[in-house]
């Protein structure tokens, strides 16, 4: 299928897909502010997201044989100019970001119409497009400082998208402010880290850095740069214990924003971590120790602590948010193996997690649309009042737990086998134990929805609108389909892991 798309793409698209993927959302965000109608903005956003998705498919097609696409912006060869560099790892994340950008854009209109002041619609959609630009830019660029710029573009857009939730619940404001403070500290740490690397190598191009770091005369500056970059990105990706901003931000943001962010924002930060650790920094003892002794404990702590916290939440959205932090823990555990299977498992986990969290939050958005509250007791009896919505929710919940024949099972299975292969049976035990916790916290919700009487039995039968239901079921079916036949995401993840780990010595680069 991908071959047909790739072959159908016109020459200009094949040549410039990388630049168009980032530039089109940005310019359309600006054009969009001139539109007065929210519905029109929605159409524009869908078109733009679809175009970006096509671009990322074309890129995926171009890199599928392990090739690397390089695009010199402004025509200046790196390291003097800024460069895009797309290998399978980038392509996978671009696919994730733009794909989710498209799905979220399609389902956005009903929830936005209900939750956001009509006068703000087009500006809101502009902010969304800017966010999309930023996330795609992070996933595509090969320049460390440019990565910071795009990280901040996406973050600033995210802060305001979260804060807009204040119309429904004022707690969105402090949540967004905390997110802003933590996120900005994270970004500044990242800049400090890049500064050290620049001092040690004299370049900002990541391939060039990778070439120069081993011969650098300032190994301590490189180490400090590494640690600042990891901490800074750790704040952005909600690595335990730096995750304190996440639960509130997810819980009080507008529904549509939560759908999009849960599937993309932290994932892109995780991409940046993988990129720096496996590609920019030499695979030596210090880094291997960092993997094993920092990521593994942090990942396990996140899995255990946040799964417990998820059990004790009364708000369903907060339950899911804590579960997200816990799932980041699984991904870090996979990463900490520092092997190709480990990273592939981690990436598969990430991909599937985006599918199920997207579906879960989308179903909740449908619930919020008609039944307002997302407290645990508001869920009671929803299985009868909105069977289609809640069935999809249940499928995604089963997938999150890791029941066989769902995507979650595939990813947990891959992670388990990677961990066992590495000789960490205790880690496998913890994975199973925390999955049991997931049974508790997701089971509670599903049980309330299907086996309890509604709080208010007079409530009529109310499904989510079709614009929401269609993408929701698309994701739910994807969850099942991947559970049965996971060859596509596994292929993506393995190619990406290979690109990350096996890239070896980056090509030498000369001046222009």
């Amino acid at each position: 299928m991908i071959d047909t798309i790739g072959n159908m793409a016109p020459a200009w698209l094949q040549a410039h897909a990388a630049a168009l993927l980032v530039a089109v959302p940005l310019i359309c965000a600006a054009i969009n502010t001139f539109l007065n109608s929210g519905r029109l903005s929605w159409l524009v956003v869908m078109a733009v997201a679809a175009f970006s998705f096509v671009c990322s498919l074309v890129l995926l097609w171009q890199v599928q044989d392990g090739e690397v696409v390089r695009y010199a912006l402004g025509g200046f060869a790196p390291p003097h100019g800024i460069e895009f560099r797309i290998d399978s790892l980038n392509a996978m994340f671009l696919l994730l970001v733009t794909g989710f950008g498209l799905v979220a854009a399609v389902c956005s209109w009903p929830t936005i119409k209900a939750e956001i002041n009509p006068a703000k619609h087009s500006l809101f959609y502009s902010a969304y497009l800017v966010c999309l630009t930023g996330l795609a830019g992070v996933a595509i660029t090969n320049d460390a400082f440019n990565l910071f710029v795009f990280l901040e573009i996406s973050s600033i857009a995210t802060y305001v998208l979260v804060a807009i939730g204040a119309r429904r619940d004022r707690r969105a404001l402090p949540a967004a402010f905390n997110y802003l403070i933590m996120g900005t500290i994270g970004a500044t740490f990242f800049v400090i880290g890049v500064g050290f690397l620049y001092a040690a190598t004299g370049t900002l191009n990541m391939s060039d850095m990778a070439r120069l770091i081993p011969q650098s005369e300032s190994p301590r500056a490189v180490q400090a740069g590494l640690s600042f970059i990891v901490v800074g990105l750790g704040l952005k990706l909600a690595m335990w214990p730096l995750h304190s901003w996440l639960p509130n931000a997810y819980a009080y943001a507008p529904s549509f924003v939560t759908i999009f962010l849960s599937a993309t924002a932290t994932k892109v930060a995780l991409y940046a971590v993988i990129r720096f650790l496996t590609y920019v920094f030499p695979q030596e003892e210090a880094e291997a120790m960092l993997f094993a002794y920092v990521f593994a404990p942090l990942g396990i702590a996140a899995m255990v602590v946040c799964s417990f916290q998820a059990v004790f939440q009364t708000d369903v959205r907060r339950t899911l948010a804590y579960s997200s932090v816990a799932q980041v823990g699984y991904m870090l555990l996979g990463l900490s193996l520092a092997t190709q299977t480990g990273i592939a498992a981690s990436l598969l986990f990430l991909f599937n997690h985006a599918l199920m969290k997207g579906a879960l939050f989308m179903a909740l958005a449908g619930v919020v649309l008609h039944f307002q509250g997302t407290q645990m007791r508001d869920m009671a009896g929803l299985g009868r009042q909105a069977p289609w919505t809640m069935t999809a929710f249940a499928i995604a919940a089963l997938s999150l737990i890791g029941v066989p024949l769902t995507a979650g099972f595939q990813s947990k299975f891959a992670l388990l086998s990677a961990v066992l292969e590495h000789g960490w049976p205790w880690a496998a035990f913890i994975i199973v134990a925390t999955s049991l916790l997931a049974v508790i916290y997701m089971g509670r919700i599903v049980e309330a929805a299907f086996f309890r009487a509604p709080v208010n039995p007079d409530k009529v039968h109310k499904e989510a609108p079709l614009a929401l239901l269609a993408p929701l079921w698309l994701l739910a079916i994807a969850n099942i389909w991947i559970g049965v036949d996971a060859s596509v995401p596994i292929g993506l993840a393995q190619a990406a892991a290979e690109a990350a780990i096996g890239s070896g010595a980056p090509a030498m680069m000369g001046g222009r």
């Binding site: 965000a29 912006l73 440019n146 857009a157 300032s218």
Partner: protein, 360 residues
């Protein structure tokens, strides 16, 4: 270190760093928000001076305009809408932050122990890409100000991102403060004229005549200066960003002296927002134009290149096209910055405070 110039710079360094320390410590200790805001402005101004001693004139210009100017105005605006003093902190609450800071600081100091010496011309940072720009600019772009050349040409995509950030900030603040019954600009758009502030003594007798006369003279001069900064950016410090800030400062001055209502009549909110968006469109549009000519995104060589050259465009450089490209994208930056900062200012200044002046 025996060079007299080096010693002179070292002395400046030490004095300015000491002043920065004093200001920083004062901000940490004070509780009056007004003093904190003013001292933060002073901190920015001192760093701007320090940038000048380290030859970063463009950065100094921007820091002075943004850090000491716009940021201070915005912080004052926010302070007027919120409160004037910070609560005293609890003593035990200092331990955690102190520990974090000490750990971070020691990691940083550890890292500096094997870094190249301060001012070393042969350090990796100063001898590789950075030095290449100095040499390459003459042939590729042919303008004297290397910072402008790198900013808008070699790393022009970063600057597009920066323009996007400014535009986003404008949208963000407008989304948060520009709507609702408290927002003057939104009310005016609906045709309501809600009084924002009650009449003060100043409105009855003409106490502001001096201010009015002087600002009438100054505002056009500020505008001309902004244009100078913009178009002279290729030759000396300055450029679209600084010029945009200066233009929006002119609007701020106008609204402070003649009232926000008059400013909204002169430069409507919709115009400011549109200007910001237009800036981004102009900048990205230059990039798309290059695509249509078969060049890479943001390659200004595409401009004014003759069709015949297009086949081998990676060989010759087209400094003429680079010049025009730089002027266009700097104009884009100027529009985006002027529009966004004006929008942000309107959002703060047009917000009705819920606390009256006397309640402070």
């Amino acid at each position: 270190m025996s060079d007299p110039v080096a010693i002179e710079i070292a002395v400046f360094n030490v004095i300015l760093l000491a002043m920065l320390f004093v200001v920083g410590a004062a901000v940490a200790r004070l509780r009056s928000l007004f003093a904190i805001v003013m001292l933060t402005g002073a901190y920015s101004l001192l760093s701007a001076m320090w940038f000048v001693t380290l030859d970063a004139v463009d950065v100094a210009f921007t820091e002075a305009a943004v850090g000491a100017g716009v940021s201070t105005v915005l912080m004052l605006g926010a302070m007027l809408l919120t409160s004037r003093t910070a609560k005293a902190d609890r003593r035990w609450a200092r331990i955690g932050p102190l520990a974090v800071v000490l750990v971070t600081g020691s990691v940083l100091i550890y890292a500096t122990t094997d870094m190249p010496a301060f001012g070393d011309p042969f350090s990796p940072a100063n001898s590789y890409v950075g030095a290449d720009y100095l040499v390459m600019t003459a042939a590729d772009i042919d303008i004297p100000n290397i910072v402008t050349a790198v900013l808008s040409s070699y790393r022009g995509f970063d600057t597009l991102g920066e323009t996007g950030v400014v535009f986003m900030a404008g949208i963000a603040v407008a989304l948060l403060l520009g709507f609702g019954e408290r927002s003057l600009s939104a009310n005016r758009a609906r045709g309501e004229t809600a009084p924002v502030r009650t009449e003060t003594k100043a409105d009855k007798s003409d106490h502001h005549v001096v201010l009015r006369v002087v600002s009438r003279i100054l505002i056009p001069v500020i505008g001309i200066y902004a244009l100078y900064v913009h178009f002279h950016g290729e030759l000396s410090a300055g450029g679209g960003f600084q010029a945009g800030v200066i233009i929006s400062v002119a609007v701020v001055l106008y609204s402070l002296v003649f009232g926000i209502a008059a400013a909204l009549d002169a430069v409507p909110v919709a115009f400011a927002r549109g200007l910001a968006a237009f800036g981004v469109i102009l900048y990205a549009g230059v990039g798309f134009y290059a695509l249509t000519q078969g060049y890479n995104f943001l390659d200004y060589d595409a401009i004014l290149s003759h069709g015949a050259d297009a086949a081998g465009h990676h060989g010759d450089t087209n400094t003429h096209g680079q010049h025009i490209g730089i002027i266009l994208i700097e104009l884009g930056v100027l529009f985006a910055v002027a529009g966004s900062i004006t929008t942000i200012y309107y959002a703060f200044a047009g917000r009705a405070p819920e606390i009256r002046d006397e309640d402070w």
